[in-house]
């Protein structure tokens, strides 16, 4: 359902998180997790959220995706409030979360099952196209159990892409993969997501890997210890493709680290 998306001027706000608070109750004791978190993500922006482990990064991502309700504050996507999961926001998970009893193709089509506007054949077409884009041609009829970790995550990305999302949320998408596989997938992912032929307008990724963030993100939002607030934002103004060995790269890594500690 991509509406006139291409016309959005660069810098238009796509996601707006405003004053989000989250309090859990454990044995009636309030346990604040997020304290007044605000951030934005604009057209063609790749935003990374990071922070100490257990600070609530993933919870924040779930709130943006409408999976968890915030205690206070609002999340807006394209000027409408997010009140629950919706079709224009999608998610890629740390642990892939594929149905082991369905093939790659069926897993991708599963994400399209709520789309009443598409026929079965159209869904199949779409799913095949997404699998092709993520480099899984020829693996349509393979079950996840027979795929390597990297390929499983490719199915995860294909599943997310197939739904024509405007906002792509990624929860530590590379952290279950071994270094080499993660490296390869990272190299492809930016081009794959941020390009005019996809519906994706903005990507928000949770990560604890600072080098990964500097390699991929346009902006790093650093959260503090629990209860988390935004400790600082770093606009990573490094031209692409980024050279991970250059001194500039390390200067940015240091900048993000400085906020983390």
């Amino acid at each position: 359902m991509p509406e006139s998306s291409a016309q959005l001027a660069p810098g238009t706000r796509i996601v707006g998180v405003d004053g989000v608070r989250l309090v859990y109750y454990k044995d009636k004791e309030p346990l604040p997790v997020l304290e007044d978190v605000s951030l934005t993500a604009s057209t063609n922006e790749f935003v990374a959220i990071t922070g100490p482990s257990g600070c609530g990064k993933s919870t924040l991502l779930r709130i943006i995706g409408g999976l968890t309700k915030a205690t206070a504050g609002t999340v807006q996507v394209l000027d409408s409030d997010v009140t629950g999961p919706r079709g224009d926001i999608t998610m890629v998970f740390q642990n892939f979360v594929l149905l082991p009893w369905r093939t790659s193709l069926e897993n991708v089509m599963f994400a399209l099952s709520s789309r009443k506007d598409l026929t079965f054949d159209q869904k199949r077409e779409k799913a095949l196209k997404a699998l092709e884009e993520t480099g899984l041609m020829g693996f349509e009829n393979v079950y996840p159990g027979e795929l390597s970790g990297g390929m499983k995550q490719r199915v995860g990305v294909a599943r997310a892409l197939a739904t024509d999302p405007e906002v792509m949320l990624m929860d530590e998408p590379f952290s279950s993969l071994d270094d080499l596989t993660a490296e390869r997938l990272r190299k492809e992912i930016y081009e794959l997501l941020i390009n005019p032929s996809t519906s994706v307008k903005t990507v928000i990724m949770v990560s604890h890997n600072v080098e990964e963030i500097v390699e991929l993100a346009d902006k790093a939002v650093v959260l503090s210890q629990r209860p988390a607030h935004v400790a600082g934002e770093v606009k990573i103004d490094l031209p692409r493709p980024r050279n991970k060995k250059s001194p500039e790269f390390f200067a940015w890594v240091d900048k993000v680290y400085a906020l983390l500690s």
Binding site: G65, L67, P85, R86, G87, T90, M91, F93, N95, F96, V97, L99, P100, W101, R102, F110, A111, L112, S113, S114, Y143, G145, T163, S176
Partner: protein, 508 residues
């Protein structure tokens, strides 16, 4: 009951440790344990009674027979637990003992027994439920001319009260039973289990050891017959590697066991008849005609087991899924289900018969008794299966706003499938046992309360429950039933189980 439990534990320790320590013993003991827990032990009860009562024809003998039966029903499962626990001891510990030159007994005392404790505790919880079933069953089965005077017992009490129309007493008795069950299971066994926690070698996910249903699940999982044939010679339970060789071995042991049973049976017959008089060897023609009759009844029972199972699936599968998807519901409902499930079904039989509508429908009564005995396996295993699914997977339909029907079809039902199949295997096993009581129930030698038209359980009970027991029919019935069950396990269940664990198990 306590005596039987104590005996079971000692037996289990001996057998389990032997099997785990010696490769040769392992090759013999494991398949034996497997077969023994997959055949309906209740069917052998008349035989056991015959042997023991033949030797000690008084109250003590009768009680010994009952204890022997309960022991038989409980020990296999505990023995499996011990075996697996000892197998799972890390090599480092064994090396430590090797280096200190520990003797066999020292090893047993300082390593094997402590290492098995938590598994014993945990398997005892469910063995107890099984044992209770057999306790009641054995007390209310009366065997014709040996109107066996067990003395006192809850099964006896229940039937007598009802026979006298003493509903108040009967109700009081059931309430007392529930109380005892609750106290025993939730206080004593739980304490034992908690105490044995510190002997655990490995960490388990928290959720699992605080949750009775999850415990039940891993118990059933490890007990289920199909696993029996999946037990590899290596360490612990692994997937079977060569189907064909294993199949052959299974058959070989099965045949050996039948021969053993036959021998036992002959011995039992001799003893029961006081070793005297004519041991007539039946003519071939008679065997053939008896076998025809037995097969007909077996067929009817087979259908009965499966249609009751079908009803249990229709109720248990959706119920289990719904309950475990809702955390609040799960917390409230699971302890209640646990208590209900630990009431042995046979004790309710006298009451069920009195429900006016059912009184005239022996088929319905039989079906209800079987259902009460087995539906828990399905519900609990489905519940545990859904609970073990990662939260992410359960949330997937929400993330992609998938409709309810689709979510059930693509996520919940496939997700519950492994647990469902494990539960089904155990349930069908339990159904054959319950059958023996359900198909022919005749307390105090009066008119039978249930008497289905045809059925193997009826044949088994009736052939021995007269003044002139028909041992030929009895032997044929037991053997045919055992062959059917073991063959079915080896062919159908094993394949289904293998397929399901391969495709429908969630691992990252």
């Amino acid at each position: 009951m306590m005596l039987a439990l104590g005996l079971s534990i000692v037996f289990a320790l001996a057998v389990g440790i032997t099997a785990a320590r010696s490769r040769r013993a392992e090759g013999v003991i494991l398949p034996l344990l497997d077969i023994f827990q997959s055949i309906p032990i209740l069917g052998f009860f008349p035989l056991v009674i015959g042997v023991i009562y033949g030797v000690i024809p008084n109250v003590i003998g009768a009680n010994l027979a009952v204890i022997a039966l309960i022991f038989t029903s409980m020990s296999w499962n505990i023995a499996f637990g011990v075996y697996e626990a000892v197998k799972a001891i890390p090599q480092d510990y064994a090396d430590l003992l090797n280096m200190s030159n520990a003797s066999g007994w020292q090893r047993t005392r300082s390593l094997y027994i402590p290492a098995s404790l938590s598994r014993i505790a945990y398997n005892t919880q469910t063995s107890w439920a099984v044992g209770l079933f057999f306790l009641v069953a054995s007390e209310i089965i009366t065997l014709g001319k040996h109107a066996i005077p067990v003395g006192y017992g809850i099964g006896i009490g229940a039937t007598q009260f009802l026979a006298n129309g003493d509903f108040a007493d009967y109700t009081a008795l059931i309430v007392a039973l529930i109380l005892v069950v609750v106290v025993w299971r939730f206080v004593f066994l739980r304490e034992f289990a908690l105490w044995s926690e510190k002997y655990k070698m490995m960490e388990e996910p928290r959720e699992i050891h605080n949750d009775p249903i999850m415990k039940f699940y891993s118990w059933v999982n490890q007990r289920s017959i199909s696993k029996l044939f999946l037990l590899a010679q290596g360490r612990g339970v692994t997937r079977f590697t060569s189907t064909i060789s294993r199949f052959r071995r299974g058959i070989k042991y099965a045949v050996g066991i039948f021969l053993g049973i036959l021998l036992l049976f002959v011995a039992g017959t001799l003893l029961a008849r006081g070793g005297l008089s004519s041991v007539t060897i039946p003519s071939l023609a008679q065997v053939v005609s008896d076998e025809g009759w037995v097969l007909l009844n077996l067929g009817v029972s087979f259908i009965r087991v499966w249609y009751v199972y079908g009803i249990c699936v229709l109720i248990g599968l959706p119920l289990g899924i719904v309950i475990s998807l809702n955390f609040k519901l799960y917390d409230i409902v699971s302890p209640i289900l646990e208590v209900i499930s630990s009431i042995p079904a046979p004790i309710l039989l006298p009451a069920i018969v009195l429900i006016p509508v059912l009184g005239g429908l022996p088929e319905a009564v039989a079906a209800i008794v079987i259902m009460l005995a087995i539906i828990w396996y399905i519900i609990f295993n489905v519940m545990a299966g859904v609970r073990t699914l990662p939260a992410d997977i359960k949330e997937l339909p929400r993330v992609f706003q998938v409709g309810r029907l689709r979510a059930w079809r693509d996520v919940y039902i496939p997700g519950a499938l492994t647990g469902f199949v494990t539960g089904s295997i155990t349930a069908i096993g339990g159904a054959w046992n319950a059958l023996i009581i359900a198909e022919y129930f005749n307390p105090n030698g009066g008119t039978p309360l249930t008497e289905t038209g045809l059925g193997i359980g009826r044949v088994i009970v009736q052939s021995t429950n007269t003044s002139s027991p028909d041992y030929t029919t009895f032997a044929l019935a037991i053997l045919s039933m055992t062959v059917l069950i073991v063959a079915f396990n080896l062919t159908v269940w094993r394949r289904v189980y293998h397929h399901v664990t391969k495709r429908y198990t969630y691992n990252r």
